[in-house]
């Protein structure tokens, strides 16, 4: 390999997948800022941030798969809430082995909920925004039905999957869970025909149809994968908080969508990946933490989150406008 091949490849990568290069840089910058304003940033801080980012990262992953297929899922937070309370209410007195079986069942339930969302969108012809807004309402009600007030629990060994450390004190096991889950759920899809079809349908539905792609099934599969990620996110919520809380998930719908936008997935569909939004979820989690370190009201976090979305998309729009002018 010639000496200049690597930078050249990096440039190609940056050209074809801007988020893959840009997002890690943004994360590194955000981490650098955090360490700068909070010099005694220790392993405990690193762990608590990884844990705080875990549910949002899964919400972002779930949303990005659906968005890539050209859809939208405004029910992700509610699905996470359902899985969260399902886990906390059934695992309370279970041993570790049983809790793992329950977790598997809940992941199955998440896929089933995703299937229902997808089928409703495809069969009813009602726009996805409306369908998932109403199903979000319905799943939210289901979560309240399962558990009225925050409570429940899970065995310590199960919680440790999200709250423990691996190797050094700096690496939270939640990071491992995230990487493993994304690798198991998304990589096989992405590298197979199923993934190609999801991208094709999102990018140009008519062209995909004429190329013989089954539009409906591909879109449903995207919602199922979204359901899988949401379910793992709900389990992650149980691990990191230790309880089930029927209203905790709701926040993650909009924040997850924010992470998707900031992570470089176009809402038009067919573009981007899961990694960008997942990293964006970590950046979004760092913001309120930084505000606390700076002794600023952490509620500014939401303002900044909103402002960040607005600025990112407006900058994108501005660049596009300049390009057309030229």
């Amino acid at each position: 390999m010639p000496a200049d091949a690597l930078p050249e490849r990096m440039r190609q990568l940056a050209g074809s997948h801007p988020a893959l290069v840009g997002m890690p840089l943004l994360l590194i910058a955000a981490l650098a800022v955090t360490v700068a304003i909070h010099p005694d940033f220790n392993s405990f801080d690193a762990q608590s941030m990884a844990m705080a980012a875990l549910p949002l990262a899964f919400a972002a992953a779930a949303q990005s798969v659906v968005v890539i297929s050209g859809g939208l899922d405004l029910s992700i937070g509610s699905v996470m809430a359902v899985c969260n309370v399902l886990a906390a209410s059934t695992m309370e007195n279970a041993n570790f082995g049983t809790s793992l079986l329950i977790a598997a069942a809940i992941i199955g339930a998440g896929a089933a909920i995703g299937l229902v969302n997808g089928l409703l969108v495809v069969v009813s012809h009602v726009p996805d925004v409306i369908v998932t807004l109403t199903t979000g309402f319905i799943w939210g009600g289901a979560a309240l039905l399962i558990m009225e007030k925050p409570g429940g629990g899970a065995p310590d060994e199960f919680l440790a999957i999200g709250t423990g450390t691996v190797g050094t004190e700096w690496i939270s096991s939640s990071l491992i869970l995230l990487v493993v889950a994304v690798a198991i759920i998304w990589l096989p899809v992405r590298s197979s025909k199923v993934g190609l079809r999801i991208y094709a349908v999102g990018s140009d539905r008519t062209a995909a149809f004429r190329s013989g792609v089954a539009i409906g099934p591909s879109r449903v599969v995207a919602y199922i994968i979204g359901g899988l990620f949401s379910a793992v996110g709900g389990l992650g919520l149980t691990m990191t908080t230790g309880i089930g809380s029927p209203r905790a998930g709701v926040l993650y719908t909009l924040s997850g969508l924010a992470a998707v936008v900031i992570g470089g997935v176009s809402l038009v569909g067919g573009r981007g990946g899961v990694v960008g939004p997942v990293i964006a979820a970590f950046v979004l989690t760092l913001i309120p933490a930084d505000l606390i370190f700076l002794n600023i009201d952490p509620n500014f976090g939401q303002v900044i989150q909103g402002t960040l979305i607005v600025l990112v998309v407006m900058a994108g729009g501005f660049l596009a406008l300049m390009r057309t002018r030229r």
Partner: protein, 327 residues
């Protein structure tokens, strides 16, 4: 379930009835509304009386005003997710400045928040061509976050709902006619006239139908959209102020539950989310249907989660049936 019961004759009817109904969907909506009202009376006979009607109209008005802005935005193929944050923000802001600047100016301050957010939405969507969903999601989070921060700053300030707003939002003329109708009816008339009779209204339909063609025809689309989103946010602020007049205390979750209904009322009312088709008269019936449905579910005395699930299911069925009917 009453939704299919009200709509099923239109599915089974053959020949000229179905096409006629497809052209006059408002008839289906009114029948549906009457069916829901019938259900209410069936569940608890004697409920439907002038007082009940007055209550229903009172509760429907804020939703109807929210849906007015949402209709105008959806006709252009857009959507506004920031309406509930704006409504809550305007109401909260108004109540906290009442003692300092007086009632009249407090209302102005509240409405100004709506205009400000609307302008930001409009600049992003109209000038920089950001997708409305993302843009309004961002400004919604911004508004909501700012109001939370603001509320923590002014913990010591008393929040007061101006007396005339309390009368406007919750009062009744002669014990029966809700006073908020005096806000809603003129707004409704203005919106319907604007959509059907004014050049601005026709442009909203035209943009929703084919934005490219509008650009080619020499229409300054960005101006129309900027005005459209500003009006939508202004109406949302007005709806929030009417709502707080009824509840008489501004909290930070005032209009939270209105996001789904504000969009659902427009969809059920027959406005296409892709733009170019629909109108406000349908949204009015949609808002009334949703309010009656809410009352019906309360009447059934079911627990809150069950109510929420039924509400979602019925809204979905209505939207699906409507899409079937008109596609």
């Amino acid at each position: 379930m009453s939704a299919p019961a009200g709509a099923s004759p239109t599915f089974t009817a053959v020949g000229g009835v179905l096409p006629w109904l497809q052209r006059h969907t408002i008839v289906v909506l009114v029948l549906l509304l009457l069916a829901f009202i019938g259900c209410v009376d069936l569940v608890k006979p004697g409920t439907v009386n002038p007082v009940w009607l007055s209550n229903t109209l009172l509760f429907a008005a804020p939703l109807g005003i929210l849906a007015a802005g949402q209709t105008m935005v959806m006709l252009t193929g857009g959507i506004d997710l920031s309406v509930v944050s704006v409504a809550t923000g305007a109401a909260f802001l108004m109540t906290t400045v009442t003692l300092q600047v007086g009632s009249g100016w407090a209302v102005v301050v509240g409405l100004a928040l709506g205009v400000a957010v609307g302008l930001i939405n409009g600049i992003g969507i109209a000038v920089l061509r950001v997708q409305p969903l993302v843009m309004t999601l961002g400004t919604g989070l911004m508004t909501q976050g700012s109001i939370i921060v603001y509320s923590q700053r002014i913990l010591s300030t008393r929040s007061v709902v101006p007396d005339f707003i309390h009368v406007l939002g919750g009062g009744r003329l002669a014990g029966l006619v809700p006073i908020d109708l005096f806000l809603w009816v003129p707004i409704a008339a203005a919106v319907i006239l604007c959509l059907n009779r004014s050049g601005f209204g026709r442009l909203l339909y035209a943009i929703g139908d084919n934005q490219e063609a509008c650009v080619l025809a020499g229409i300054r689309v960005w101006r129309v959209l900027l005005a459209d989103y500003t009006i939508c946010s202004l109406l949302a602020a007005a709806a929030g102020i009417a709502l707080v007049g009824d509840t008489n205390s501004a909290d930070l979750s005032l209009a939270e539950t209105y996001l789904l209904p504000s969009i659902a009322a427009v969809i059920i009312g027959g406005t296409s989310i892709f733009g170019g088709r629909g109108g406000y008269s349908g949204s009015i019936i949609g808002a009334l249907i949703l309010t009656v449905l809410n009352g019906l579910l309360t009447l059934l005395d079911s627990p809150e989660p069950v109510k929420q699930i039924l509400y979602g299911v019925i809204i979905f069925l209505l939207a699906a049936a409507y899409t079937r009917l008109t596609d």
